[in-house]
Amino acid sequence: MDNAITTESLTKRFGTFTAVDRLTIEVKRGEIFGFLGANGAGKTTAMRVLCGLSKPTSGRAIVAGHDVAARPDSVKRRIGYMSQRFSLYGELKVWENIRLYAGIYGTPSARIKERSDALLRELDFEEGRDKLVRDLPPGWKQKLAFSVAIFHEPEIVFLDEPTGGVDPVTRRQFWELIYRTAGRGITVFVTTHYMDEAEYCDRVSIMVDGRIAALDSPRALKERLRVATVDDAFKMLARGDASPLYTNN
């Protein structure tokens, strides 16, 4: 019962097209779970369903203790979300962005003040407090967007390609931030096209045409397919050169 996410035959269809086909997975609390797949494999659709933004056609998903179909609002309150495309408001200052998001999640004002000071100290970014977000370097925007996404202490944070286009050093610092977050017990559900980052996950799933073709720790996955990297494993499965290692039913 200590799962952050449990899905059973979760399915999402658009007309005759099955975007997510009987997804059955369990993500443990505090786990860093890499949700991999080719473009168009159904990752974004699955993620939207798990976040309570889109109703499943059939099947069930329990996220942070709540059914996504029956209680989407309870799910939304207990999760955080960050993507490379949508993050912060450029025309607002750093502290205003923090305030805005914390306010949306109903954090009391006194607590926002105290926690945002702590956050900026932790990020070593106290001098950036009054800067407009649009003037920040891309790497800082990313770190800040992530911190804002977990400001309300969600049980799970969903990261949709969080490191796209970021320089190599910042990308690695970002993953250290992810480790720290998971260490505090927040479950991290992350998509990425950087296969070296897949190696940093506790477990990864690889989605092919709406189905999970593999779900394992990076090490076990590589051993089973007898390849050197998750990148190789990904390519084998996505091209159909290896048969799926994971079957839901």
Binding site: A38, N39, G165, D167, P168, V169, H193, T229, K235
Partner: protein, 305 residues
């Protein structure tokens, strides 16, 4: 005279107080596949827009096919194909309408140049009646490349064509670039994926409006790389912290399933392994390995920070 296809000399571009390009110079030969490698905000897009004659520079000179980007932009435009980083096709037109439109604008027809785009366009054929807005990310990218090619340009400027694209589609895309290069098309392509550098003839590492270095991927690694100690063990996050804290290690970064450490002068690999084992690390492996472009980029970045 051996004229370069793209010649850039001291290009400067400012946006308000931000210096996007701080005097970059470069010469790209005919048929070369040249990569601008660097993170967001490095100035890659700005440079490509200057070369595509869409943005006037504040200083310096640039010539494409021997013509000045500012004075002779009209003559340059039919010769170049430009694919912007943001999806910029017409969302309400179908796949085939977009292609038709781009051909017509350049007084060409899809039929006469179809051979150029066939390999890519075949993937799009099942969706040719679909509105461009309704395509998946990878499909949009393919259509954008077709539209940049359909007037048979001699030079291609591709701005981050593989950003947000999965590893399989990225590989496919680079195969297509290789085929275009073999047709004699000069390609200048930008990417934030450091591993794509090895697929280019030459690259420039771009950071904060400057070129850190220019050369073949091998030359760059030889010039700037130092041998790396790759390490792994049963607990990777703890190993990273312990490696960083050890005096034998100058710097250390996670690198997929290995950590890459730059050893300090006089460091001993065997003794470092013993030290890690003494700290309780199990299954410790450390081996010397040649650096890659990403190692070089990290070194540059840490030296200049």
């Amino acid at each position: 005279m051996n004229m370069a296809t793209v010649e850039i000399d001291g290009i400067v571009k400012r946006f308000g107080t931000v210096e996007a390009l701080r005097g970059v110079s470069l010469s790209v030969s005919r048929g070369e596949l040249f990569g601008l490698i660097g993170p967001d905000g490095a100035g890659k897009s700005t440079l490509l827009r200057v070369l595509a004659t869409l943005l006037p520079a504040d200083g310096g000179k640039a010539r494409v096919e021997g013509m000045d980007v500012e004075k002779e932009y009209r003559q340059i435009r039919p010769r170049v194909g430009y694919m912007p980083a943001r999806f910029s096709l017409y969302p309400d037109l179908t796949v085939e309408e977009n292609l038709q439109l781009f051909a017509t604008v350049f007084h060409a027809t899809v039929e006469e140049n179809y051979a150029l785009v066939r390999e890519i366009y075949e993937h799009l054929l099942p969706f040719k009646k679909r509105r461009a807005a309704a395509l998946s990310g990878g499909m949009k990218q393919k259509l954008a490349l077709c539209c940049a090619l359909i007037h048979a340009p001699s030079v291609l400027f591709l701005d981050e064509p593989t950003t947000g694209v999965d590893p399989v589609s990225r590989e496919e895309f680079w195969r297509v670039l290789g085929a275009l290069k073999r047709r004699g098309i000069t390609i200048l392509v930008s990417t934030p994926y450091m591993d794509e550098a090895r697929l280019c003839d030459r690259v420039a590492l771009v950071r904060a409006g400057r070129f850190l270095d220019t050369g073949t991927p091998t030359e760059i690694v030889e010039r700037h790389g130092r041998m790396i100690w790759a390490a792994r063990g049963h607990d990777m996050p703890a190993l990273l912290a312990d490696l960083r804290a050890h005096p034998f290690v100058e710097s250390c970064f996670a690198f997929g399933d290995w950590h890459h450490a730059t050893p300090s002068p006089g460091a001993s690999l065997a003794r470092l392994r013993e030290a890690m084992e003494a700290l309780g690390h199990r299954e410790v492996e450390i081996r010397e390995t040649p650096p890659c472009i990403e190692d070089c980029f990290i070194r540059f970045a840490s030296c200049q920070a």
